[in-house]
């Protein structure tokens, strides 16, 4: 792999940019790998990356039915934060957030991590109390957050209207080192690093069946032929139920559509991320100047990657109260992704009833922020059979009643 650097750009500029090489290889599948990861989204690619980096396992294929990063990883609104309530969540989200800080250097790929700060608005008394509680919990967990009053909110985000007609801004939970990153670049950066370690990224290769022998996984059938493996990781977000069915077990997961939209580009007007959970809307401004807006998820199962229009109306209607200046903006694009929701709104990183088969799913509406930490934990679990970060996220927690309830922290889609 040729390293990217300022020097490389200068050198290529002098020779008509003819020296750049492909960022990752597109090889033919081998008959057998040590590890197969199904799904080349951020979580699958990060898992493969850490299998190689920390555990020296590089005979790995990442199998993707479409193109890498074409699932939710390339469809999300890129909010990164770690101000969750429960200890296991704080641990894995903060691990992820801290890995994001140096991810561009680690991958030698600019993922444009922008720790511009995230405010979660408190717009009811209930939320005020909830966020104060989260701030206290975060202090104990070593996650730097702060409960701020309305004047500080206004200072950080001048375009906010504090005394909106229905939901005045009473305060907020502020995480100064939260922010955003370029979602495609995260997938591309990991893919390039994996390919460089000799791993295979097999795109346009749909897994259509799981092969087993004596209760142990032996491989998969795909649209590009049968591929064998010793271990398999299912990391397919909205398609988790479908893959679990192929592997012969059930999951506490349902797939629903979540949508986002962007406005026409305007001049810089907002340099923090603002989330308004009571009214189900959040907004940030991209480097191109578009206002990036997300809202609530649909309430019924769906695999179409498009959602219901009335959710967009509801989201925009609510945000206009808090940000009156956006009322004249034209919206440019809208899209949907299929998110995998669990009962306690926390992910599953787990062994499964099928030996050799592991699953990482249930990130639902908020897993982009978790990609580096999730990949780290999933790789450790797959390589060694145990990961402290993943320990609480096993799928048996539902049977045992050990929920990691984040329905408040993840109350709105993000």
């Amino acid at each position: 792999m040729k390293r990217y650097s300022a020097f490389a750009i200068a050198r290529e500029a002098l020779r008509d940019h003819m020296g750049w090489t492909r960022a990752w290889e597109s090889p033919e599948p081998r008959a057998q790998y040590d590890v197969i990861i199904i799904g080349a989204g951020g979580h699958g690619l990060a898992t493969a990356y850490h299998l190689g980096k920390e555990h020296g396992i590089t005979n790995v294929a990442v199998i993707e039915k479409g193109w890498l990063g074409g699932g939710n990883t390339g469809r999300n609104t890129t909010i990164i934060r770690s101000n969750y309530l429960q200890d296991p969540s704080a641990a894995i989200y903060e691990k992820a957030r801290s890995l994001y800080e140096t991810l561009s250097q680690d991958l030698n790929y600019n993922v444009m991590f922008s720790p511009r700060g995230v405010i979660m608005l408190a717009q009811t008394e209930h939320e005020v109390r909830g966020y104060k509680r989260t701030a206290h919990a975060n202090a104990l967990q070593g996650v730097a957050t702060e409960y701020i009053g309305p004047q500080k909110v206004k200072e950080l985000c001048p375009i906010i209207c504090l005394d909106g007609p229905r939901y005045p801004v009473l305060g907020g939970l502020w995480q100064a080192r939260g922010g955003t990153a370029r979602h495609d670049a995260v997938a591309w950066g990991y893919a390039r690093a994996c390919s460089d370690m000799g791993m295979h990224i097999l795109q346009k290769c749909e897994v259509t069946g799981v092969k087993t022998q004596n209760g142990k996984v032996t491989g998969v059938t795909t649209s590009r032929g049968d591929i064998g493996c010793n271990k398999m990781g299912i990391v397919v977000a909205g398609n988790s139920g479908h893959l679990a069915e192929m592997a012969g077990f059930r999951l506490p997961v349902e797939s629903v559509a979540l949508q986002a939209l962007v406005s026409e580009p305007i001049k810089p007007c907002m340099d923090v991320v603002v989330m308004a959970n009571t009214v189900h809307g959040y907004m940030s401004q991209s480097d191109k100047g578009e206002m990036v807006i997300g809202g609530g998820a649909d309430g019924y199962n769906n695999y179409t990657q498009r959602g219901s229009f009335h959710h967009i109306e509801e989201t925009v209607r609510a945000l206009i109260e808090t940000f009156p200046m956006i009322s004249r903006l034209k919206m440019l694009r809208q899209w949907g992704g299929i998110v995998d929701m669990t009962g306690d709104r926390s992910p599953i990183i787990s062994k499964t009833p099928l030996e050799g088969c592991f699953i990482n799913c249930g990130w639902g509406t908020g897993g982009f922020k978790a990609i580096p930490g999730s990949g780290f934990a999933m790789a450790e679990l797959m390589a060694t059979g145990r990961s402290p970060l993943a320990a609480e996220f096993g799928m048996e927690r539902f049977r045992e009643g050990r929920f990691i309830d984040e329905s408040v922290a993840a109350g709105v889609a993000h």
Binding site: N239, S240, G241, H242, E245, R250, L251, P252, V253, E254, S255, D298, G299, Y300, N301, N302, Y303, T304, S308, F309, H310, G343, F398, R399
Partner: protein, 109 residues
């Protein structure tokens, strides 16, 4: 937008008139049942890529609960039926078979 016909009042409802109620025909387990049954009832969910059966409520209308048979891949609706039934009626099953030969969902086919 999803359109479903309420089997009680016969109205063709827009999705905004309805509340989704999750998986249909769940068998309820209470205190004293096996852990696995209780987990299945409370948390495990069918999440099919294809034919699915759900509960809906005509919330901004007659207020009644009913069942719907739908495809989660095309959003096609095969039919709606009474909430009083413990399994899909034969005409709904036939309508699905006409379009999705060989379908199955839990113990129904």
């Amino acid at each position: 937008m999803l359109l479903l016909r309420c089997p009680y009042c016969g109205v063709d409802c827009d999705e905004t008139e309805l509340s989704p109620g999750g998986e249909a025909h769940l068998k309820r387990f209470g205190p004293g049942s096996e852990d696995a049954d209780f987990e299945g009832y409370l948390f495990q969910r069918e999440n099919p890529k294809g034919v699915h059966f759900e509960r809906w409520r005509h919330a901004n209308g007659c207020g009644k609960w009913f069942h719907a048979a739908r495809c989660t891949v095309t959003l096609e609706v095969f039919g709606t039926y009474s909430a009083q039934l413990t399994e899909p009626p034969q005409d709904i099953k036939d309508a699905i078979t006409a379009k999705r030969p060989g379908w199955h969902w839990r113990e129904f086919a």
